[in-house]
Amino acid sequence: MALSKLENLYRQMILEHATHPHHHGSLKKADQDIELRNPTCGDVLTLQVELKDGKVADIAFSGSGCTISQASASMMTDEVVGKTPEQIGKMVVAFSEMVTGNESDDVDELLGDAAILAGVAQFPARIKCATLAWKAIYQAVKADDKKSTVGFLRHDE
C-alpha cells in the first residue's frame, strides 16, 4: 500500500523527536527571542537562544506544528548547541540544500541526526515545514544579515 512510502518521510527517529521533542520549553535568559510562522499551515515556532563566548550556549523552542516541523526543530536544537554563528550558517545552507534535493557528502558530519530529514526532498509540499526551525536559528544568530543567500530564506511562501 502506498503508505509504505510514507516511511521515507516519517522515519522512526523523526516520530520520536516529534513525540518527545528536545529543548522544548523556554529559557530564563535569552539573547535572541524569535517567533516565526508558516502561514500556509498555521505553524508557529518560538525560538530562544542564549549566546556565550560567540557560541550557542543554550536554546529552547515552543509552538505548534506538524510532525516534520516539530522533529526538525528538536533535531536542530540538538545540533547547534556549542556552535558559532558561522558554523550554524553553514549548517543551515547544507540543510536547505539537502531538503531541496541537493545533498552534499558531508551532511551527516555537518547536520548529525538532522540528516535523516533528507527524505523530505521527496515531499516538496513539506519542505517549508522542515525548514522553519532552521530559518529561525539563522535569523537568531545572524539577525543583522539583510539579504540572505539561502534560497528558502528569501521565499516567504
Partner: protein, 412 residues
C-alpha cells in the same frame, strides 16, 4: 442507488491519472474545481478561431470576440437571476469583487462610528477588506458568533446588526464548516436597519441554484475557478442603484467615456469597473462552465453532492478519534468536510492521504480567526463536487483509517 452513481467524471480528463501510483481522488474542490472538457475546448476554440480584443474593433474577429464577451454577461445574469446584465461586472475573482465593494462603495459610504458586521466564519477575502476599511474610515468591525455546530447564531445576528450598521458582509456558504447561511433572512434584518448586505458566494455558487433577488442581497461575488471555469475570472453582481453611485477604481481602456487632458468621464456600470483588457478567454470559459452546469441543472448538482455526503459522513463519524467540524447532520451540510484526526497535525494527515492518491487540503483555509474560534491550529478538509462519487468518499474513509494505523505508534 447503483454503485457507479454518475458518469460526470468522464467529462474531466484530469481525474484519469495516477498520483503516487494510486488513482487520483480529487477532494480539494473548495480550493479550486477541475474543468470539464467542454470548458477547456471553449478556451482553445476561442484562441484557435476568434481571439481579438473586444469592444474597440471593427474587424470580424473583434466583433466575434465582443459578442462572445457580452453574451456571457447575459448568461451570468440568467444564472444568478440578476434583473439586468448591466449589473454583472467581470472581476479576477471573489477576492477582487469583495475588495472593490469595500474600496468603492465602502470608502464612499462608511464613516467614523459606523459599524461593519461580519462573522467568525469568514474567509480572509471577506474579512480583511472590511477590517482595513474600518481602519481607514474609523468604523467598527463586529463579529457574529456561531453556534456549537458551526451555524450562524441568529440571536447574535440580531444583536450585532444595529442602526449604526452600514454594511453586513457574510459568506453564503462556509469554506470550512460546510454550512449555508440564511442570507434572505439576514438581508431583511440588515435592510430594516438601513444597512446593505454583501454576500461572498465563492462556496455557494458552484453548488446550488443562486437567485440574488430571492437572497435579497445588494452585492454578490463569486469566482469562476471554483465553478469549473478558468482561473482569473470572477463576477461581482450589484444592484444598479448602488453601482451607479460607486466610483470606478481602475482607470484606462474601455471603462472610459471621454478623456480630456485634466478631466475624464466614465462609462456606466458595468463597463466603468472594467479597466484594461479583460480576461476574454476566461469569460468565454466561464460561459462554457455555466452551460455545462445548467445542462445538468444546479438542483441536480446539489442532489448529487448531497447523496455522496450522506453516504460518506456516517462512515467518517464512526472513525474513532476523528473530529468533524460543523453540523453532524448531512442534510444541513454542503460538500465541504473539515476534520482532525487524533492529535495528528492536519499537514501530516494530508501528506499521508496524498500518498494514497487522495487530494485534500490542510491548513487554516484562509480563515485564521475561525481557527482561533474553534481553538485549533488548523484542520484537514475534504470537499466534494459533482464529479465525485460515493467510491471517492470510500477512498477517503479508507485512507484516513490507513493513516490512523500508520501513525498509531504515536507522534505529537
Amino acid at each position: 442507488m447503483g454503485k457507479k452513481m454518475n458518469s460526470y467524471a468522464e467529462d474531466f480528463p484530469i481525474l484519469k491519472q495516477k498520483v503516487n501510483d494510486e488513482q487520483l481522488v480529487y477532494l480539494d474542490n473548495a480550493a479550486t474545481a477541475q474543468k470539464p472538457r467542454a470548458v477547456i475546448e471553449a478556451i482553445t476554440d476561442y484562441y484557435y478561431h476568434d481571439n481579438a480584443n473586444v469592444h474597440r474593433g471593427v474587424h470580424t474577429l473583434a466583433e466575434r470576440a465582443t459578442k462572445d464577451f457580452e453574451d456571457v454577461r447575459s448568461k451570468v445574469a440568467h444564472f444568478i437571476n440578476a434583473p439586468s446584465k448591466d449589473e454583472v461586472i467581470y472581476t479576477k475573482g471573489t477576492t477582487e469583487g469583495l475588495n472593490w465593494v469595500a474600496a468603492s462603495y465602502g470608502q464612499t459610504h462608511v464613516k467614523a462610528g459606523d459599524e461593519i458586521v461580519i462573522s467568525y466564519m469568514e474567509h480572509h477575502s471577506n474579512l480583511v477588506p472590511w477590517q482595513q476599511l474600518a481602519h481607514r474610515t474609523g468604523a467598527k468591525l463586529k463579529y457574529i458568533s456561531l453556534q456549537p455546530d458551526g451555524q450562524l447564531d441568529m440571536s447574535s445576528v440580531r444583536q450585532e446588526i444595529t442602526d449604526k450598521t452600514a454594511i453586513v458582509a457574510l459568506a453564503h456558504a462556509s469554506n470550512v464548516l460546510g454550512v449555508v447561511n440564511p442570507l434572505a433572512e439576514i438581508s431583511r434584518i440588515a435592510h430594516e436597519h438601513g444597512a446593505i448586505m454583501v454576500a461572498d458566494g465563492a462556496q455557494s455558487t458552484p453548488h446550488m441554484k443562486i437567485d440574488v433577488q430571492e437572497l435579497g442581497v445588494d452585492f454578490f461575488a463569486f469566482s469562476g475557478h471554483k465553478l469549473m471555469a478558468p482561473t482569473g475570472i470572477g463576477i461581482l453582481w450589484g444592484k444598479s442603484e448602488l453601482l451607479d453611485e460607486m466610483p470606478p477604481l481602475e482607470f484606462g481602456g474601455e471603462m472610459i467615456d471621454w478623456v480630456q487632458l485634466q478631466e475624464t468621464t466614465f462609462k456606466k456600470a458595468p463597463w466603468k469597473f472594467e479597466g484594461g483588457t479583460q480576461n476574454i478567454a476566461g469569460v468565454v470559459g466561464l460561459g462554457a462552465a455555466i452551460d455545462y452546469l445548467e445542462k445538468i441543472g444546479m438542483d441536480n448538482v446539489q442532489k448529487q453532492e448531497r447523496a455522496v455526503v450522506q453516504a460518506v459522513l456516517p462512515e467518517l463519524q464512526q472513525i474513532e478519534g476523528l473530529t468533524i467540524y460543523g453540523p453532524q447532520d448531512a442534510q444541513k451540510r454542503t460538500g465541504v468536510i473539515s476534520f482532525n484526526l487524533d492529535n495528528l497535525h492536519p499537514h501530516d494527515v494530508a501528506t499521508a492521504l496524498d500518498m494514497e492518491g487522495v487530494a485534500i487540503r490542510a491548513g487554516h483555509h484562509c480563515a485564521q480567526p475561525l481557527m482561533e474560534y474553534l481553538n485549533v491550529p488548523a484542520t484537514a478538509r475534504a470537499s466534494f463536487y459533482l464529479y465525485n462519487t460515493i467510491e471517492d468518499g470510500q477512498r477517503l474513509v479508507e485512507a484516513i483509517k490507513a493513516t490512523k494505523e500508520f501513525f498509531k505508534n504515536g507522534t505529537i
